[in-house]
Symmetry: C2
Subunit: 195 residues, 2 copies
């Protein structure tokens, strides 16, 4: 087989990240080898080290990029003024954004254990910022008496867990459309917070 020549750094980099995301989501970070990732991309294992200093940094970059994209996407999301409108926007946004990139979500949620301490702190900070978005919406709603909530933080954790659960069972082309899932979840959340 002829050896490939020439520069592909603009192409290979993204392909490595995508293949790594897919493999790590399927099998877990510790179970995936650099050789497997390289094979999925069509290069030799050694070539991966042109794109990442080591396996740990590859994982960290995947998780950080996902969470930064999540926060940026929420910032760009159109949302109304009153708390109920914002809560609906958040609920629908969360479901949609997460269903669009199941591999990245899975990795970001499941591989915290495999981060080295320094990296763990950085990722946790990003996760907490996202939780803070929802807490702020709920607290403002409770203040304005739009919501009836004994504890905003706890409600935020409950709502995020519930919304994130969609990724574990939703299948494109299944019994329910994404729009219908969004509406049903929003209705449950709306009632749960007493809006």
């Amino acid at each position: 087989m002829a050896r490939k020549t020439g520069s592909h750094s603009q192409i290979t980099g993204p392909r490595i990240r995508k293949a790594a995301l897919k493999l790590i989501a399927r099998h877990g970070f510790a179970a995936v080898t650099m050789r497997q990732i390289a094979a999925a991309v069509g290069v030799q294992a050694g070539a991966l080290y042109l794109y990442t200093p080591d396996k740990q940094t590859l994982l960290f970059d995947l998780m950080r990029d996902h969470l930064e994209e999540l926060l940026a996407a929420w910032e760009a999301e159109p949302k109304g003024d009153d708390p109920a409108e914002q809560l609906e926007a958040f609920s629908r946004f969360h479901i949609r954004f997460h269903l669009e990139r199941p591999d990245a979500v899975f990795v970001a949620n499941m591989e915290l254990r495999n981060l080295e301490p320094e990296n763990f702190v950085a990722i946790e900070d990003l996760r907490k910022r996202y939780e803070g978005v929802l807490v702020a919406i709920l607290e403002r709603g409770a203040l304005h008496r739009d919501f009836t909530l004994p504890d905003s933080r706890l409600a935020a954790m409950a709502i995020i867990a519930m919304l994130s659960g969609v990724n574990t069972w939703y299948r494109e082309g299944g019994r329910l459309s994404r729009e219908r899932v969004e509406r049903i979840y929003w209705n449950m959340i709306r009632r749960a917070v007493g809006a």
Copy 2:
């Protein structure tokens, strides 16, 4: 160091399982070595193979035992007749049972990927049986007009995800007592299903 003598199979077996559960919950199945488990128990790696034929079977046994215990505990749980009573019993039971054994829960939820196909099917069957318990409660409640639900299966998935999320943030001796968490969650669920 003097070599230990005598039989300890009644003691060592459970200690291996407990140590494995803890280590796998912390670091993930693929990242934990048989040598680490052995060291935590205070034996050599080879001795583990008196208690399990291989690492995969150890994982499978841990997950199966946890889920069988879960199903048996629900069977033994006192629960009323009407759907709302049963839903409250289920909600409180789920939180309590899961908070009591965080390591086993974590392993059972996170290590599905590391099961070989045959074992995966067996564990999925047990998981589905537990989900079926909640689906049945919700369907009966919807039938009797105790609950207002567009989709019982979807509501079941949402409720289980929400309840399971407690394990990710609850800390013994923290801001909220377990009883208070149970009550707040039950109130959110009660309103979400329109009871």
